[in-house]
């Protein structure tokens, strides 16, 4: 099952876990699968229209999915999905 690395900002939405396994043949399916187990999770990644938020990046392994097939990017068994929200802290 693909593994999703959860940034600290979103860990409260998945019970504090740093990574979670999730099922789905595409990224969108995987996100909704996680949302079914952790209600509200998808809302951090997706707009109400279902499109990807422009300030939250999602990587399939090391590739930004915006440059693949977006949320319809196929996901394989051993893939690692990383979520990177924009942060501004530097001081």
């Amino acid at each position: 099952m693909p593994n999703v690395r959860v940034p600290s900002m979103l860990r409260p939405t998945v019970g504090g876990e740093r990574s979670v396994a999730a099922d789905g043949s595409t990224l969108r399916e995987l996100i909704y699968n996680l949302d079914s187990r952790h209600p509200g999770f998808a809302g951090h990644l997706l707009e109400s229209t279902g499109s990807q938020r422009r300030f939250v990046n999602i990587y399939l392994n090391d590739e930004d999915v915006r440059y693949l097939q977006g949320l319809e990017t196929p996901v394989e068994e051993d893939d690692v999905i990383s979520i990177l929200p924009a942060v501004a802290g530097g001081r």
Partner: protein, 284 residues
């Protein structure tokens, strides 16, 4: 702008190193990749730090120690007790003083070869181009989205390399933007709505994280100045201190980027507070 020509020991830019300088930089000079020529190049270089805080502190200290000849600092904050667990350039005795004064004095002690140029003012669309234009590399240690987009855009428009870094709790990120090879807008096309992402003040940050990321920024800056190795271009370094893992993800240049894409629509600085929907409530 205030320029303090730190006691230069009679150094002339590009001139041969003095005996003291040969001793001071001996462990740089002995590196074949640096040598006397590289060290003189550093002494003739100008680096601007946006923010004298968590990231700016270690970056400024290491760049000064390395002999970067001119270091500019933009910050209009004063040193606060709550800064001191991570902003290691400032000391307890400097609480209440302008950060740029604290930085100037500390860097003069670290290395009198360094000229410190201070900008005790907010960086904005009105002054960013003037502040940045004379520097070779910009190091970003700001703490808010309007300043991040502003500095990104100004650096791209001026053709300046930007060494970026961010912190959040136990995590940090670092990368380098070279003009024409992607920019912050390629990474994050739009800022989050105001309040959607907590700041370090709201979320916290482990102090030593600043040392890791700020020092990586200093390393990348020296590499750029000396044209060494492979800079963190088109890739974002991710550091998770809890798992003690470094990873990388790719940052492609976005051909649709409004700033650096194939058909850009941004040709000058804009109103970044309006763009981000939030005022610059903290300093940059």
């Amino acid at each position: 702008m205030t320029s303090t020509n730190g006691k230069t020991n009679g150094t002339v830019r590009g001139a041969a190193l003095s005996l003291d300088q040969a001793r001071r930089y001996a462990r740089h000079i002995i590196l074949p990749e640096v040598g006397s020529i590289g060290q003189r190049k550093l002494l003739a270089s100008k680096v601007l730090l946006i923010g004298a805080g968590g990231l700016g502190s270690p970056a400024a200290l290491y760049l000064a120690a390395a002999g970067v000849g001119t270091i500019g600092i933009v910050d209009y904050d004063v040193v606060d007790l709550s800064n001191l667990h991570r902003q290691i350039i400032h000391g307890h005795a400097n609480i209440g003083r302008p950060k740029v004064d604290s930085v100037r004095e500390r860097l003069a002690d670290v290395n009198p070869d360094v000229e410190v140029v201070t900008f005790n003012e907010p960086i904005s669309s009105a002054n960013a181009m003037d502040i940045i234009k004379d520097f070779d590399v910009v190091v970003n240690g700001s703490d808010n989205f309007p300043t991040r987009y502003l500095v990104n855009d100004a650096c791209y428009l001026l053709g300046k390399p930007l060494v970026d870094g961010t912190l959040f709790r136990f995590e940090g990120r670092a990368n380098v933007y070279l003009p024409g090879k992607g920019c912050y807008r390629c990474l994050f096309p739009a800022p989050p709505p105001p309040g959607a992402v907590p700041s370090c003040a709201e979320a916290g940050v482990m102090g030593a994280m600043c040392g890791v990321i700020g020092t990586i920024q200093a390393v990348e800056t020296v590499k750029l100045l000396l044209d060494l190795g492979d800079p963190l271009v088109n890739r974002l370094l991710l550091f998770d201190s809890l798992s003690m893992e470094f990873r990388e993800v790719k940052i492609p240049r976005d051909p649709d980027c409004p700033l650096c894409g194939d058909n850009p629509t941004i040709h000058e600085l804009i109103d970044y507070e309006a763009f981000c929907g939030a005022p610059v409530t903290t300093l940059g």
